[in-house]
């Protein structure tokens, strides 16, 4: 059973000016295995993928694929060899249909015209082979995220991919969709495709992966059979120390209601009612598309509210835009920090103070001393790792970027903070720091609404959990009732 590996990487290093992204990494992948690649942000996974797909050449080392040795690939070569990757952001054309996407750049032809019929037939066949039904003529923009991902997979497979790299494939999917994706992965595996599977969700690795390799700080750490690993061992290998995901003790909240929402509705939300108490963390759970982010945006005045009432303390308030919400000391840390949380071209300092410039200025002139003092303090308090406050936000790692967004809202001195997926795409160590931080905030009397797709985190952190489904509140759970099963049941049961 000592099978020769299909893909063998030996002594690969990649040096960027000032950064050693990969340091003498060696790994091998067998034919027809699902091989997890694990590491914190900045461990070098992305660079590793880029080298395999030919997007970047390694500084040194060799790649052995199917018996031949290469110093590097061009992207074209990688494709021809059958090395293919599906990234978190899909590379699809929304206004083209499925088969046009799949055959983009290698259209079948009949004379000088393209043979659309043949392409449609083949596309339908590919989909059937994977056990899914999709009309090849559906426009990609009309597909859900899960289906778009399937189109990406079909596209790779149809080019005779022999190694398929999947970067966080489950991140945008609901639990049910993840199951469907797993079925496809198993089918590919049975057909002899090697899958390199990257995910931060440790549980699913045990379900789908045969082996796991761990990287840390650009170095190779270990490769193990998945069956020999435990969650704790994986985390320890990733962070280099024993670190459980432990949650700080939650505070008892007071009975003072700081926010009361009644019958809030808009085109995505239906009759949402709940209360938020001082010093509590109110978790919001639900599947993707259940309306969690939409609720956050409506509460914050970022999306319009059609009917219903929001009471802040004793006052009924109406938010026409985020400014009104901020004036009522409500802050939102959006789900996608790069798209809507940060201004990547501006420095850490400018990002932190962006929302509170008025309070830092006299007669509209910014008082730069006060600005610096404040940033200095927040960078220290939140332990943002950076050479200085003038560093551009775009140059920071995911965890540190998230801390900058948090710093920005701490600076604004809001009493109610809505965190939408506060730990998405953040490594284990930084997650821990954010948990502690959230708890500290509640101790200071701030109230937090936390939206998260990670159930352990919600269960560990919240005082109460609201479960949403199809734009409605499907149920509320008190701390004593928390369990993954209960939440799932509320989130997915159809009435």
């Amino acid at each position: 059973m000592d099978e020769k590996p299909l893909l063998e990487i030996s002594g690969i290093s990649k040096v960027f000016p000032g950064v050693q992204a990969l340091d003498n990494v060696s790994m091998s992948f067998r034919k027809g295995e699902v091989h997890a690649l694990l590491g914190e942000n900045g461990a070098g996974k992305s660079t590793f993928i880029k080298i395999l797909t030919g997007a970047q050449p390694p500084s040194s080392g060799t790649i052995r694929f199917d018996g031949r040795e290469y110093a590097s690939f061009t992207p074209m070569q990688a494709k021809q060899l059958g090395l293919s990757a599906i990234y978190q952001e899909f590379n699809l054309f929304p206004h083209l249909d499925i088969s046009e996407n799949i055959f983009y750049g290698r259209e079948l032809k009949k004379g000088i015209f393209r043979d659309k019929k043949k392409m449609d037939q083949l596309t339908a066949q590919y989909c059937k082979d994977m056990g899914i039904e999709l009309d090849p003529r559906t426009l990609v923009k009309d597909l859900g995220v899960a289906q778009q991902q399937i189109v990406e997979i079909v596209k790779s497979v149809s080019t005779q991919a022999r190694v398929l790299i999947m970067d966080e494939p489950s991140a945008p999917l609901t639990n049910r969709e993840v199951e469907a994706m797993f079925r496809i992965v198993r089918r590919l595996k049975a057909n002899g495709v090697t899958i390199i599977y990257i995910s931060h969700r440790l549980e699913e690795l045990f379900e789908i992966c045969d082996r796991v390799s761990v990287m840390r700080d650009g170095k190779y750490i270990l490769t193990e059979e998945m069956s020999n690993m435990t969650r704790e061992k994986l985390i320890a290998a990733m962070v280099g120390r024993e670190l459980g995901e432990s949650y700080p003790q939650t505070q008892k909240s007071s009975s003072e209601v700081v926010l009361e929402v009644s019958n809030l509705s808009n085109d995505r939300l239906h009759n949402i009612s709940f209360q938020l108490k001082k010093g509590e963390i109110l978790g919001i759970s639900g599947l993707v598309g259940a309306g969690r982010t939409e609720l956050a945006r409506a509460l914050f005045g970022a999306d319009p509210v059609i009917s219903g009432q929001i009471k802040r303390g004793n006052l009924t308030v109406k938010f026409k835009n985020p400014r009104d919400a901020i004036a009522n000391r409500i802050g939102l840390l959006p789900e996608d920090r790069k798209q809507s949380g940060l201004i990547l071209d501006l420095s850490i300092r400018e990002n932190i103070t962006f929302g509170i410039l008025r309070t830092l200025s006299g007669a509209s002139f910014i008082k730069s001393n006060r600005e610096r003092t404040l940033c200095d303090k927040l960078i220290r308090d939140l332990q943002i790792k950076t050479p200085g406050m003038e560093q551009k936000a775009g140059n920071l790692s995911g965890g540190n970027q998230q801390k900058v967004v948090i710093a920005k809202w701490l600076a604004s001195d809001c009493d109610i903070l809505i965190f939408d997926e506060p730990t998405r795409g953040i490594d284990v160590g930084a997650k821990q720091e954010i948990y502690v931080l959230l708890k500290t905030l509640t101790e200071q009397g701030k109230s937090i609404i936390m939206i998260s797709s990670e159930m352990p985190e919600l269960i560990g952190m919240s005082n109460r959990i609201l479960v949403m489904r199809e734009g409605k509140i499907a149920g509320e759970l008190a701390r004593s009732e928390f369990s993954q099963e209960k939440i799932l049941e509320l989130a997915s049961s159809s009435v």
Binding site: P17, L342, L346, G355, I366, N395
Partner: protein, 321 residues
Amino acid sequence: MTNAGQLKNVASKYGILIVLIVLIIFFSIASPAFLTSDNLFNILRQVAIVGIVAVGMTMVLLTGGIDLSVGAIIGVAGVMAAQLMLSGVHPVWASLITLAACALLGAINGFFINTVKIPALITTLGTMTAIRGVAYLLTGGLPVFGFSSSFKMMGQGYLWIIPIPVLIMIAVFIVGYIFLNKTVYGRYIYGVGGNEEASRLSGVSVQKVKALVYTACGFLSGLAGLVLLSRVNSGQPKAGTSYEMDIITAVVLGGVSIFGGEGKINFVIIGVLIMGVLSNGMILLNINEYVQWVVKGLVLLFAVGFDRFITRRKTISAAAA
């Protein structure tokens, strides 16, 4: 990453200064008339119009927008002020009324972009054409002249040895520098261009910021129009035609990203000087006007191409980190 970033910054910052120096050396050798104090002041006076508007254009580009109507506003400003003065309005009042009208034209650009939500490129393409038409309509297509000679001071006067238009340009740059770097709205301009949604979610009124930059750009175009009027002493409806081209080129040469969010006004002045030296040098060398157009067009493509190159390099190295 930081080393490469610093290197790139040095290249993009001083690259443009090196271009200016090389141009100056080249023209000094090629034409004996170039490096004389008369000619150098001449260049400065000539670039004043472009320079004044470049400050407004910098703000517009920083928000990720563009304003093609600046040349037309320069034209309408001259015609309007000339006619007001001819009809007996005091030059100071005529100037103030014209400036207000031009600011209003800028605000109208802002309205179409903010409220009707037409992209800036199309909005200002439309207003550019319409405003130019108004300039011709106001005069029936003829130049307007014969107004008070006291108005000449603004375009032709000197303070000690420095031409007044140059002083105006320097003042505009100083105010622009302070505004962009020291004030709340200056910071917002960078923020809106860098990430509009994040700015909105930070409680910034994106629409106000955009309205402000287009209004300022209209106002400064009006100011430039007055200076031009005073220099040529007659209100020409065609004045300022295709100035938008020189102005945008100068700003982009100065390193302001056409995608917004990035750029420093102190480098824009170098871009303005390059455009001035280039025009002046080519005229001294008796280079055919049509050839000059070709050169200017290529300079714009070069400047934008360089911006794209830098952006791309940055995305690659950012993705790598």
